[in-house]
Amino acid sequence: MPGKAAGKAVPVPTPETQPYWDGCRAGELRIQRCLDCGKPYFYPRPLCPACGSADVEWFTASGRATLYSYVISYRPAPGFEADAPYVIAVVQLAEGPRMMTSLAGVPATPEALVLDMPLRVTFEQRGEISLPVFTPAGEEHQ
């Protein structure tokens, strides 16, 4: 459609993931953990992937993470044209689970992006959704 550029994708919550997105809107990274085996996990789902228990609860993660791996994409997805090249990262939360994210406040260069660098969560407004992204943690967060 000429003149109508697609925007960035906006996630659509499901009943199982709604508490996660509600947490994001409140400025908190809420994930789940198992009350039987104790393991935290991500992405949201009603069964513990480690032991199969349905006895799970939501909790607020620290928001601290480290940079596990990434690519710098030179081919923008719809809506990301002005951002390219941009980082698509996977971070490891302090609690253990990993998640994909974007990085804010850091140049998209290999020199600036050192694996295992400390990060902290922040939120980007995307339509009705608050999307968790990560930014380098200052000294006070380490």
Binding site: K8, M100, R126
Partner: protein, 381 residues
């Protein structure tokens, strides 16, 4: 397990591969099927089972061919699906559910003729937890584990680039390969960045084409015009629907699991393997495959390839058609990896090896999502 042996009695690709705007995806299935059935010396009336990926699907492909099969498999788990079809077909033949099974692939990956538009479900797990971060297909997802591997095991950018260099040496021997001109590590590193650390020449092609196989019981081998290719062992496994949730970014546990099953069934070890195909959508995948299958230890695959062991004249010929990086890659490349394994075992490959009694094919689907492994042999088990 039943002692019924299973063979690949017919195997063929479409007349041409590459840029085929005159063919739809369904048209490519039909051409590949016709060629494979003819290669087996059969007619469509001899086919009583059909397998292909979910789009266009076994019902559509069978109907287009004038076949009304009594056995169907629509397993669609990405580019490795056809390896799983071979495994499922072998089980069906042993169970007596079908006698002569046709497996087809066709994909207008480059020209996009007769292809359903891609739709992203933004309520799926990937739609909620990966797509919003700007991923755009395999180049931005399949590639993400590589930097972690490079940090943990010291793989260099030059070694990663050499994977493409080695495979181009095989492609140079293959008139059907899309790219045949020799390249150097410098050429690879000078090609444009697609998704750092991956340059264009470390990413697979995007092409049109198809291929098909005819699977049947080994006791019929003498009735076919072509030398039988015995299916000695098979394995399949799944891993992750989202790259961010891969358990360990430095190894593929599904490659290992499927490989162990296939090797055990065939009764072989890595030292028995004459010829190897590892799905190479990107340059790091053969590295993960070599280590998971036990050909080298963890962290050794990059230097192993860079030292020339997998190129022409090396001890472990790998991706001898040129692979997805240089031969062809329609999107679901697994069928072409099987075809090259069949050609080598039959002795009719463009870059034919002196000895190809045992060929192993490792297929990947999605972004480290699903895996199939086949062990093919010139002789029965």
């Amino acid at each position: 397990m039943s002692d019924v042996g299973v063979i690949i009695a017919g195997a063929a690709e479409t007349d041409e591969i590459g840029r085929l705007p005159s063919h739809s995806t369904l048209g490519l299935h039909i051409e590949a099927a016709r060629n494979a059935v003819a290669d087996a010396g059969l007619t469509m009336r001899d086919i009583d089972g059909i397998a292909t990926v979910s789009a266009p699907g076994p019902v559509q492909v069978a109907h287009a061919l004038g076949i009304y099969p009594d056995w169907l498999d629509g397993t669609g788990v990405g580019g490795t699906s056809f390896l799983l079809h071979v495994r499922h077909a072998a089980a069906a033949i042993r169970a007596g559910h079908a006698k002569t099974i046709l497996i087809t692939h066709g994909e207008s990956g480059r020209s996009r003729v007769g292809v359903a538009p891609r739709r992203v479900d933004l309520s799926s797990p990937a739609g909620q937890f990966e797509v919003p971060y700007g991923i755009l297909g395999p180049t931005t997802t399949f590639t993400i584990p590589a930097l972690r591997y490079m940090k943990e095991y010291g793989l260099t950018h030059e070694q990663l680039a050499y994977v493409a260099v080695a495979q181009r040496q095989w492609a140079a021997k293959n008139p059907r390969a899309m790219y045949r001109d020799a390249i150097t590590v410098d050429d690879v590193l000078a090609s444009r960045l697609v998704a750092y650390p991956f340059h264009l020449l470390e990413c697979c092609l995007v092409t049109d084409g198809g291929g098909a196989l005819v699977i049947t019981a080994a006791d019929r081998a003498a009735s076919f015009p072509r030398p039988p290719v015995h299916v000695l062992g098979t394995g399949e496994a799944s891993q992750t629907p989202m790259i961010s949730q891969m358990i360990d970014f430095t190894e593929s546990q599904m490659f290992r699991r499927a490989g162990q099953k296939a090797f055990a069934e065939a009764g072989i070890t890595p030292s028995d393997v004459d010829h190897l195909m590892i799905y190479d959508a990107f340059a790091h995948v053969p590295i993960y495959g070599l280590e998971a299958l036990g050909f080298v230890r963890k962290g050794e695959a990059g230097p192993f390839i860079a030292d020339g062991h997998t190129e022409p004249g090396g001890s472990l010929p790998l991706n001898t058609n040129g692979g997805g990086l240089s031969y062809t890659h329609t999107g679901m490349y697994g069928m072409f990896a099987i075809q090259e394994g069949v050609r080598q075992v039959r002795g009719e490959a463009a870059a034919q090896l002196d000895r190809a009694d045992i060929s192993v094919i490792l297929g990947n689907g999605g972004m480290f999502a699903s895996c199939g492994v086949l062990v093919l042999g010139r002789q029965p088990r």
